[in-house]
């Protein structure tokens, strides 16, 4: 479903990702764990199409398409979703209008009829119950004045409404208390299925207690240094990243400085 081949990415001339290879099949949940500054968010942003990143080598195939050739909106319309680490506040645009515009843009792209106000209302309120959000959120401007937890829930709500083929969750657990974490995980688990893939990016193992991954990758200094089953997350929790952050990767960082 998502194939990343030898991906090298630089920001302002500095190489952040140094040859990532990753294959996520439909129905799988992959987790990427790594210390701060290892390139986790860069990977998420490059997949979603944010400006400011130079792909210096490699490619990303998504559902038979060359992902890097697509605009962010084309990626979204093709079924890609990024749950933002820092959801953006958009004053003046209300949540309901935004969600409806997004869903209808995607439906239109796929040649499906747009939903009218009533149909959309039924869909969105049903999905809101899933993430335990109050209807009053729909009338508020997108993310404006939302608490950290509300913003993350709003990301999961958007994902539930847009039903992407593939979702990237960029540190969706950061800043959440345990109750909010469970709600977010339930929202994600409700979408798990044989036709859908996930890439869950996190610093901590905690989220993976609730969203149990099929494969765990360890990203250190722009490279995947180890991959394994869900037990790898437990191991990292106990031992930390120290094992990986010295030696070879340290040398390469100095070499690039």
């Amino acid at each position: 479903m998502l194939n990343i081949n030898n991906l090298h990415v630089a920001v302002d001339g500095r190489e952040i990702l140094k040859g990532i290879d990753l294959r996520v099949k439909a129905g799988e949940v992959h987790a990427i764990m790594g210390p701060n500054g290892s390139g986790k968010s860069t990977l998420a942003n490059v997949i979603a199409g944010r400006e400011g990143y130079d792909v210096t080598a490699g490619n990303i195939q998504f559902l038979e398409q060359d992902l890097l050739e697509l605009d962010p909106e084309e990626r979204a319309c093709s079924g890609l979703f990024l749950a933002f680490q820092y959801p953006v506040e958009i004053p003046g645009v209300n949540n309901l209008y935004f969600l409806k515009a997004a869903l209808n843009a995607i439906r239109k792209y796929r040649g499906e009829p747009e939903l009218d106000a009533m149909e959309f209302w039924e869909l969105v309120t049903e999905r809101m119950r899933r993430v335990k959000m109050d209807e009053s959120f729909l009338k508020r401007p997108v993310n404006e004045g939302f608490s950290g937890g509300e913003k993350k829930r709003n990301e999961v709500l958007q994902m539930s409404v847009l039903e992407p083929a593939f979702a990237v969750l960029d540190e969706t657990d950061s800043g959440l208390d345990i109750d909010a974490l469970k709600v977010v995980a339930e929202g994600v688990n409700a979408l798990r299925g044989p036709e859908r893939g996930f890439l869950v990016i996190t610093h901590y193992q905690r989220l993976l207690d609730y969203i149990v991954p099929d494969v765990v990758h360890v990203l250190v200094d722009g490279r995947i240094v180890r991959s394994g089953g869900k037990e790898l997350a437990m191991e990292l929790e106990e031992q930390g990243y120290a094992l990986y952050s010295g030696g070879e990767s340290g040398h390469s960082r100095r070499a690039n400085a």
Binding site: L82, P91, F98, A102, L162
Partner: protein, 451 residues
């Protein structure tokens, strides 16, 4: 910079002579005109050497010989339809074509006893005493050339008088349509409105300026609109006031707005300028009784080659007053927005609560915004806040919308629309608000896209 001379020094003086020759006016009017002309001649046409015109280049204006407009034949369908479509709630409507009242295009309704809504020219004969008492008596715009010029040359406009305790439910619509006739010289109009609310009276007024340009270039079709509106609110009066500028592309609109607010009176002003080569309105609001409340929302939409300018002074002359000003501009192409806002709190105006913001959204690298919020506070127990911002669309917000599938053009439109619409949202008059929302939508959304 070379100084461009007005066509000649006596140009506007001759207009006054012609006007006076046509009319036999009472002494107080002649005195107002003469004092206005004297001030105008003393001030001269503004140049960028004057502080309050530093960013507003009037050299193009000064080179055009605007002539007093004559009444023009105009078809009813050229005038914008009333924003209120339900006849049951339609209010009175006064239409002025090239500065003259047009009864055929206007609409009268049955008014509560004592309420006066009439053209100023007609009111002169029947209500001369009222005009003598109030005209030219509201807080002055000292040093403002165009307020002085309007004093000298105004011909017509509206008189609105609401007696004590009376409330007019329906909105009062004042429509000013101005344009030169095809091939004719550039025209000047000098509308003058007087809005008087006695103690406890309430009214809603929508003053709108429209017109067409004969040609889109050079001076052909140029129009100079120089309106002045005075509002006097007695104790506990409530005024909802709206001013809309949607004039032709070659219009120079140089307006004045003067308000006097007595104790516990409330005024909310909503100002929209959506087109015109040069739009400037100078405002002086004086909170002249304890507990007066004045809020002003301004929205300026500018396209390539346009300039929008608000200069305002909100003067807290008595204690316990509240004032809030919120101005926004959206600038496209090579355009400029100028804002100069002064909050003045006199020594005795304790417990004043005043705030002022000015936000500018630049859609083009060639657009420029000059914002100058100022405070002048002599009292020591007050709450005053002000601030201004100038910036481009937030790239993070744009990416966020695009990452959800919304294409770039629509994402931009959504952000610009919502920025502007925050000003429109506060208009309580629903049919007007909806009309302006449609205006914003047409302006900012890609063609054929509905919300």
């Amino acid at each position: 910079m070379a100084e461009l001379a007005v066509v000649d020094d006596r140009h506007y003086q001759r207009q006054l002579q012609a006007l006076c020759a046509e009319r036999a006016e009472p002494a107080f009017l002649s005195a107002l005109r003469e004092a206005g002309m004297a001030r105008f001649e003393q001030l001269g046409l503004p140049t960028r050497r004057q502080e309050s015109w530093r960013f507003t280049d009037m050299s193009g204006f000064a080179a055009i010989a605007f002539e007093r407009a004559s009444p023009a034949p105009i078809a009813a369908d050229q005038i914008p339809a009333p924003f209120e479509t339900d006849p049951a709630t339609q209010g009175p409507r006064l239409v002025f074509i090239n500065g003259r009242f047009n009864a055929a295009l206007s609409r009268q309704i049955e008014l509560p006893a004592g309420v006066l809504i009439d053209s100023l020219a007609q009111a002169q004969s029947e209500h001369g005493a009222l005009l003598e008492q109030y005209l030219g008596r509201s807080p002055e715009l000292t040093g403002n050339t165009f307020s002085a010029l309007n004093d000298a040359l105004f011909e017509d406009g509206a008189l609105i008088y609401i007696p004590r305790g009376k409330q007019l439910e329906q909105p009062i619509e004042l429509v000013f349509w101005s344009a030169p006739q095809s091939g004719a010289a550039p025209v000047a109009v000098y509308p003058r409105n007087l809005i008087l609310l006695e103690a406890g009276a309430q009214a809603t007024v929508v003053e709108s300026y429209h017109g067409a340009s004969a040609g889109d270039t050079a001076e052909a079709g140029a129009c100079f609109c120089c309106p002045q509106t005075e509002c006097a609110l007695a104790q506990d009066a409530v005024l909802h006031y709206h001013k809309l500028q949607q004039e032709g592309q070659v219009t120079y609109h140089l307006g004045a707005l003067r308000l006097q607010l007595a104790a516990n009176s409330q005024a909310d002003l909503h100002l929209l300028s959506a087109s015109g080569k040069l739009n400037r309105t100078d405002i002086h609001a004086r909170l002249d009784g304890p507990g007066a409340d004045c809020s002003i929302d301004g929205l300026t939409l500018l396209q390539d080659g346009e300039l929008g300018d608000y200069h305002l002074c909100v003067e807290h002359a008595q204690p316990l007053g509240n004032s809030r000003q919120s101005f926004k501009s959206v600038l496209d192409g090579k355009s400029r927005a100028v804002f100069d806002g002064l909050i003045k709190v006199v020594k005795d105006a304790q417990k004043t609560d005043a705030s002022q913001t000015c936000r500018n959204l630049l859609l083009s690298k060639r657009a420029v915004a000059n914002a100058n919020p100022r405070l002048e506070i002599l009292a020591d127990d007050v709450k005053c806040a002000h601030g201004s911002t100038v910036g481009y669309l937030d790239p993070d917000a744009l990416f966020y919308l695009r990452a959800r599938g919304i294409n770039e053009a629509e994402a931009r439109a959504m952000l610009v629309y919502s920025f502007a619409n925050e000003q429109i949202e506060r208009i309580k008059l629903a049919p007007l608000r909806e009309r302006l929302e449609r205006l914003l939508h047409t302006r900012f959304y890609p063609e054929g896209k509905s919300s």
